[in-house]
Symmetry: C2
């Protein structure tokens, strides 16, 4: 038997890495970071993941380390900010070395892939809770906001949407997926890839953007309200993976339109920028698909490929209303 | 009956205030902040408070709002940074308007007192957990670090220490306090006052600093290890409130030397700076007391007023070791 792992050993062993850019990393009362360039702004966002709410008890710690940072990087991606540094505050029921090793591995692998460094935080005992705050830098005036959409803009989405919700439905027992579909969709739920490169490439191209976490139509609603505009969305134009395309239509629509957790970017750009959007997508090696247009008339109109109007029954996730 | 409060209403109603300095506050994927001056660094820190660990179930929400921000401001104070902005990520078992009103009142009252603004965050359902990340600015090279103590430095502490631990002991049933002592000590535990003004005033005066959260001697240990020095502390010199001075000696020493949660600053300065320390204390309207000296010899020597060596039995708090 080894002695129980203490709080300070835990921080030293799993969460202290030499910093490359920060003037001072983990271990003092604050971390110290160099200021961004004079023409830049600081972008900051915090996301909290709670066991039993955002992930199931027994979830793979490596995937959790990835996801806890990924959902935060996705917020930087959504405004077109360059990732810079993050803090991690974590509550754990016990200091389990195996869990901590896995979590740190997943966390730092994604951090290194996006050149963002862990500079500080907090560890405490408690019901499992992962709270990350990310800092990024973005040139003043170039951040992509929810409020920038204009009537006539094209509406675009990155990658494919709905796989995370398809995986969740299997785990919740709503439907059963074959082994191959599980293999292709579980990673979309467990290890979302934040679209950081696309956010950067869209800086001078897109008018408005946000990331899809609550559901495509629900998040689009946030963008429409912030921009004081409406939209028409072609449900059949929403990009789906091969796995999702083989599902029954009703399930496919639910997953694509109401499913969150894909962390794709939803953005608008004027039709004159279609070539620029394509170039940004190519530069970021991220496919994008046009799924509708922004209207002056408020509200959201959902249609299918034939132009038939569909009922919008695809409410998004609300942490205090969704059971 | 009113409809249950949703996540987005909750944010809008309780946590959205117009920002004065930030370019963009609550409501987008990230907040956007102006960069600090070119000669400044960004100081950042996160602290997480967990129900049942950092506060008792049923704790006054107004006091919790105060304390959640206060412990974070105390980290900025400890490095001498000027508070700038903060994010709040909060997990709650339910959206209780009365609780939220109280919490927001305590939070914003302290935020306004220290001219720091809430710019973003996250709300979710889950076991009650309050995670705040603070950002401050400090001129490059002037931050007060744990690693700056030098042999020969005086060791100083602000205010008085031990009242929060005295209050905690009553609440845990370790001892019983009379009503007057409860009235004078409970606020020290529930509403600590971060020593922000003192931290700023000590920027060009102190060599090293940190805030006392785990216990005076335990936190001093962190400073000594970071600075690779030792210290001699006079237990009888440690400043105590009138309430604590009337307690039995053994209890008083325990509260002062092992008690955390007072959020006073512990700092070192060369003896040549005694007048400057006094001037900084006067400027910040915060009393300070000299309680020992930094030694070249490693380790911590605890003495009483007569010079008698005392056993150091005052281990600090460790979230994964302390029951």
């Amino acid at each position: 038997m080894t002695a129980p792992l203490g709080e300070f050993d835990l921080i030293a062993r799993y969460f202290t890495r030499p910093v490359r850019r920060a003037a001072l990393g983990v271990g003092d009362d604050c971390a110290l970071l160099a200021a961004p360039a004079a023409n830049e702004q600081i972008a900051i966002s915090s996301d909290m993941l709670v066991e039993g709410r955002h992930f199931l008890p027994g979830a793979d710690p490596d995937a959790l380390g990835h996801k806890a940072l990924a959902v935060n990087l996705s917020d930087l991606a959504a405004v077109g900010a360059r990732p810079h540094a993050f803090t991690l505050a974590i509550a754990l029921p016990e200091a389990d070395p195996r869990w901590l090793e896995g979590f740190a591995r997943g966390l730092f692998a994604l951090a290194e892939a996006h050149d963002i460094e862990l500079v500080g935080g907090d560890t405490t005992r408690g019901p499992r809770n992962l709270c990350i705050t990310v800092l990024g830098f973005v040139p003043r005036g170039l951040a992509l906001l929810r409020s920038g959409a204009r009537p006539g803009d094209d509406l675009w989405v990155s990658g494919t949407v709905g796989d995370a919700r398809l995986a969740l439905g299997h785990r919740l027992g709503e439907w059963t997926l074959d082994a191959q579909t599980q293999d292709s969709t579980f990673p979309r739920m467990d290890r979302p890839e934040p679209r950081v490169a696309l956010g950067l490439a869209l800086r001078n191209v897109a008018q408005a953007a946000l990331d899809i976490s609550d559901g495509l139509l629900a998040d689009l609603g946030h963008l429409l309200r912030a921009s004081k505009v409406g939209a028409t969305v072609d449900a059949d134009a929403c990009p789906a993976s091969a796995a999702l395309r083989s599902q029954p239509l009703q399930r496919r629509r639910l997953c694509q339109l109401a499913g969150g957790d894909d962390y794709e970017l939803l953005f608008t750009a004027p039709p004159t920028e279609r070539n620029a959007v394509a170039a940004a997508a190519a530069q970021a090696a991220t496919p994008v698909t046009r799924i509708g247009r922004i209207d002056a008339e408020p509200g959201l109109r959902l249609i299918d490929a034939s132009g038939q109007v569909l009922d919008n029954v695809y409410a998004g996730f609300d942490h205090f209303r969704t059971p």
